[in-house]
Symmetry: C2
């Protein structure tokens, strides 16, 4: 198909498509004349993936590039691709938090050991968790960390159904893509559900009086 | 304290502090001379809250302003403040998704009815969920929506402990702040835990062979 049809099918403007090609997110089309290229169904699918990661997942263009490189690299083991998706966002927290962060890292290492999770306590997600805990401490809500095990129970349940879903896909390319989609869009899905459940639970507790 | 000490205590530069005051995120200091102001402990706390929402929660300055207005408005019922925090991010998804989005909205309305959640299916979080489901459909992973109830179970568990935590705070200002902090930093905490649980679950399933 021509770029105009690709644009219409994927709901992405022509200049944006060209930008994604320049940025290495989308493979170039096959040249059919010096200034005309032809695109395939795989381009539509890839564009939709990029938009989903960008708009719903909130990834940056650089983050998407990393994730897409992981998808397209047939040498990369599947569980490493999951790692690449997980590593894309490590929040930076600045300020007077040296001791808080050290204590938070120790709390994360304890948690991982306690639950027997086969994961590295130097993984970016472990650091992201430590940063979140340190931030809670810094705003006077260190006690929120008491909920860590309840959160970990819920995260384990969700991770189990996620991996079962991913394991249904037998073709490697689909499998890896489903990991990425599930990781990123699953976050968005859970955050929205948590807010809806909050409104319900909060209304039951606070709705009547305050 | 002077602005230099405030800057050091909160780990935020002086120009950034002035920017937050101009943007209405931070109350101005009390003027002690025509070009010198004095700041209190509440300023340190507020600055740390702003940085946590910005750096860990990923909120925009405009989003933080909304949340802070909700915190500072004593007239606003507590469960409405939760709503304001929930409403801050509604992902925009563009493209050829009209029918997908309508179907996704219907699926969300079904879910809310099925679970008996006392929440509006036109709430921004409901729309955010519909957008995530439509995005999954658009990238060929509509089947991921089969996990919706497993996710909702986990979200309910987490929301219950969140609200119990919040209910511990008896002073309104602290209560409202804890809702905001718990909502935003709780998302970051859960996302990090889910990734760690993924790595563990994925390693168990895929680590050996692929």
């Amino acid at each position: 198909m021509r770029i105009g049809e690709l644009s219409r099918r994927a709901g992405v403007s022509v200049p944006t498509i060209k930008y994604y090609v320049r940025e290495g997110l989308l493979p170039a089309g096959r040249l059919t004349s010096p200034n005309q290229a032809s695109y395939e169904e795989t381009h539509v699918r890839r564009l939709r993936l990029i938009r989903a990661l960008l708009d719903v997942g909130g990834l940056s263009v650089a983050g998407i590039r990393e994730v897409i490189e992981a998808i397209d690299d047939p040498e990369r083991p599947v569980h490493k691709v999951l790692g690449a998706a997980a590593d894309r966002v490590v929040p930076q927290y600045e300020g007077e938090r040296g001791d808080d962060l050290l204590a938070a890292r120790a709390a994360v290492a304890d948690l991982l050991a306690r639950r027997g999770w086969r994961t590295d306590d130097r993984a970016p997600a472990a650091e992201a968790l430590a940063v979140a805990l340190a931030a809670l401490e810094s705003v006077g809500h260190g006690a929120f960390a008491e909920l860590l095990d309840a959160y970990a129970d819920a995260a384990e349940q969700v991770a189990r159904v996620d991996v079962d879903y991913v394991a249904r896909n037998v073709v490697r390319e689909e499998l890896v893509e489903s990991v990425v989609v599930g990781t990123v869009l699953g976050d968005a899905m859970f955050a929205a559900l948590r807010r809806l459940a909050h409104v319900d639970a909060s209304d039951r507790v606070f709705g009547a009086g305050t």
